[in-house]
């Protein structure tokens, strides 16, 4: 189970990595920009991406949209993490094609639960 983590905040990247490890998955890549995230995803064997929305280069939502249109990434699971507390953000994330949404600040155990819940079967 290969996981990509993208967040411009290094400490949060680390926190998410810990959660991924706790969930029993592998952190394949941890990047700080949307551009790097998209470059990593293309042609990779990533199963799940945890993307922050607000990142330099591209937003997590843009990366999600690109991934949804990319052949070969149909089975990618996308979890969005955001500091945006607005009411409409859930609908926006869903519209972009995300599988789940977590609002900052989040509990580590909540993220672990979400990761396990959305893990693609059979891997």
């Amino acid at each position: 189970m290969n996981v990509l983590i993208a967040d411009d905040d290094a400490d949060l990247r680390e926190l998410v990595s810990i959660a991924v490890l706790k969930a029993g998955f592998t952190v394949t890549a941890a990047v700080g920009t949307g551009t790097e995230a998209w470059a990593t995803l293309q042609g990779s064997d990533i199963d799940l991406a945890v993307l922050d929305i607000s990142m330099p280069g591209m937003t997590g939502l843009e990366v999600t949209r690109l991934a949804r249109a990319e052949p070969g990434l149909e089975r990618l699971v996308v979890l969005i993490i955001t500091a945006d507390g607005s009411v409409t953000i859930g609908a926006e994330a869903e519209g972009a094609g995300a599988n789940g949404l977590l609002t900052k600040p989040f509990q580590v155990r909540e993220l672990v639960r979400l990761l396990r819940e959305h893990a693609p079967a059979g891997r």
Partner: protein, 558 residues
């Protein structure tokens, strides 16, 4: 009085001539008679009566000059013709009595006296003539025969009396006519006066109207920040102010009669038909307006239906304000808000996340000391407080920018109250404050935003707990009222001074009792609560006594 007005009324007739002018006839007559007497015609005459007669006539002339300058009433002028009668009598007697060639002078005083209004002047004339005719007879001067003299004595006064009556009547008729004419004249003067008055009034009104028009024009010209556009019912522009010229780029001549409102206000059709349905309140909305050069700008538009004098719809008035700057400002505010949101929440996420990781779990086998756990609690609690503050700040920023919206759904207020009390229970227990709940057995349903109303209740209850000393109590009530539901949070706390109650919902305002008792907080809780209640069209009532407690009553319409 009647006589006076009669005298006044005869102004312009013989009666109103100055006495000297009237006397002119007698003066001329006597001068002529005197000239004849001194001429070589050799008419027999006794000199002294003639001199006296002339003196009398001259004296009468002096009286005629003096009379208007004295305080004597004008009717005294009758003395002059009477004196003239005496003079005629003297002259006639002195020049041969009945045979005198100067008897005709009698006509002069007769005319004067008889022309006075009133038949008694006819009698005076008659008496005068009788006197003049009788004098020679009395002094023994006779003529041809006694019978002829007697006949003359009767006949002459009679004829003169008839003449006097005629003169009197002619004078009266003329006088009446004059009075009528004068009345007509007065009437005409009044008409002319009122015509002049109304002309002046009309001019004054016109001046006022012009003044008002000038004022209106200057006000109209001064409106450059708003585009004011008028249209007829079909949407053809018929009013285009300077603001419209500068905001939209079309000149008045290009716009009036040629432009359709849809050229500058795209897609107005639907709104127009809605307006036609007959709402008299102006419709306010934000639109994108199109300029002549094709560029657009955000506009706040107020549309009002315009009516003609008969009250029938005549068209519409559009008042548009350029919102470019306001929109830009709003965008900056939003940007700032989301920056704060992101920049503060991200480090807080790390703090809370790592604190969570530090806490011992089943699969962590290096438990911390109790001391360390206590410190960790402090970090956790403070991070959460900071997070709450960030949330509150964001919320008030949203309320301030008018972008705070609620999502009402059918909700059971009873369960909202129960949830809020459960949330407050731990802190109340810790502060040794009794929490009691009074709710009706029946469900009180309402269509509210459950998250927001829950937040408002949390705020009110946590406030009540915060401001109530150890051992006090907080009662949370729910009541059903006609058309409304009431949420009541009453405490036995420190209270709020009366003059501060009204300021409670101001942002960052804190009651003096709160600061004195060192109760923590920044003063946003009630601002938020008020905003939530207001968004639900509800009201908050605060009843407080310092030292006794405070009761907040929230009324929500159902």
């Amino acid at each position: 009085m009647t006589e006076r007005s009669g005298t006044e009324a005869t102004a312009g007739t013989f009666g109103s001539w100055p006495p000297l002018l009237k006397h002119g006839a007698a003066l001329t007559g006597f001068a002529l008679a005197t000239l004849i007497l001194v001429s070589p015609m050799d008419i027999a005459a006794v000199v002294w009566p003639v001199v006296v007669a002339d003196a009398l006539v001259l004296a009468a002339a002096v009286f005629a000059i003096v009379l208007p300058r004295t305080a004597l009433p004008p009717r005294w002028e009758i003395v002059i013709p009477i004196v003239t009668f005496v003079a005629v009598a003297l002259l006639r007697t002195a020049t041969g009595g009945q045979l005198s060639p100067f008897g005709a002078l009698m006509i002069i005083p007769v005319v004067w006296i008889a022309s006075q209004p009133g038949l008694r002047y006819v009698l005076i004339s008659f008496a005068g003539v009788l006197g003049v005719v009788a004098v020679p007879f009395l002094v023994g001067i006779s003529s041809v025969s006694v019978a002829a003299d007697v006949a003359r004595l009767v006949f002459t006064p009679a004829v003169f009396a008839i003449a006097a009556v005629l003169i009197n009547q002619i004078a009266r008729v003329q006088n009446d006519r004059l009075v009528r004419l004068q009345k007509l004249g007065l009437e005409r003067d009044r008409l002319v006066q009122s015509l002049e008055d109304s002309t002046r009034e009309a001019l004054r009104r016109q001046e006022q109207t012009l003044e008002a028009a000038r004022l209106r024009d200057s006000v109209w010209e001064a409106i450059t920040g708003h585009a004011i556009i008028g249209t007829d019912l079909d949407g053809t522009v018929n009013v285009w102010n300077r603001g419209a010229v500068s905001l939209l780029g079309y000149s008045s001549t290009e716009a009036i009669g040629r432009l359709d409102i849809l050229d500058v206000h795209p897609r107005y059709n639907e709104a127009r038909s809605a307006l036609r349905a007959g709402t008299d309140a102006p419709e306010q909305s934000d639109w994108t307006y199109a300029r002549k050069d094709g560029t657009t700008f955000p506009a706040h538009v107020l549309v009002t239906e315009r009516f003609d004098e008969d009250g029938d719809p005549a068209g519409f008035i559009f008042v548009a304000t350029d919102e470019t700057e306001a929109t830009e400002l709003q965008r900056l505010k939003d940007e700032f808000t989301s920056l704060i949101s992101h920049e503060l929440r991200t480090p807080l996420s790390s703090i809370l996340g790592y604190v969570e990781l530090l806490r011992p779990e089943d699969d962590f086998d290096d438990p911390m000391t109790d001391q360390q756990l206590k410190y960790l609690d402090v970090v956790d609690r403070n991070a959460r407080r900071l997070l709450q503050l960030v949330g509150d700040l964001l919320f008030t920023a949203q309320v301030g920018s008018g972008r705070f919206t609620i999502e009402p759904v059918p909700t059971s207020l009873n369960s909202l109250v129960r949830a809020a009390v459960d949330t407050a229970r731990p802190s109340a227990d810790e502060a040794h404050i009794t929490l009691s709940v009074v709710t009706p057995d029946d469900d009180v349903p309402a269509t509210v935003d459950p998250v927001r109303i829950g937040q408002a209740l949390d705020n009110l209850i946590s406030n009540a707990v915060k401001f109530t000393p150890r051992g006090g109590s907080v009662t949370i009530g729910l009541e059903s009222a006609p058309g409304a539901a009431r949420l009541i949070v009453a405490d036995t706390g420190i209270g709020i001074p009366a003059d501060e109650v009204a300021r409670l919902s101001e942002r960052f305002f804190r009651a003096s009792t709160a600061t004195q008792h060192a109760v923590k907080g920044v003063g946003l809780g009630l601002t938020i609560t008020k905003a939530i209640v207001t968004a639900h069209a509800g009201t908050i009532d605060i009843d407080s006594t310092v030292g006794a407690g405070t009761t907040f009553t929230v009324e929500l319409p159902l």
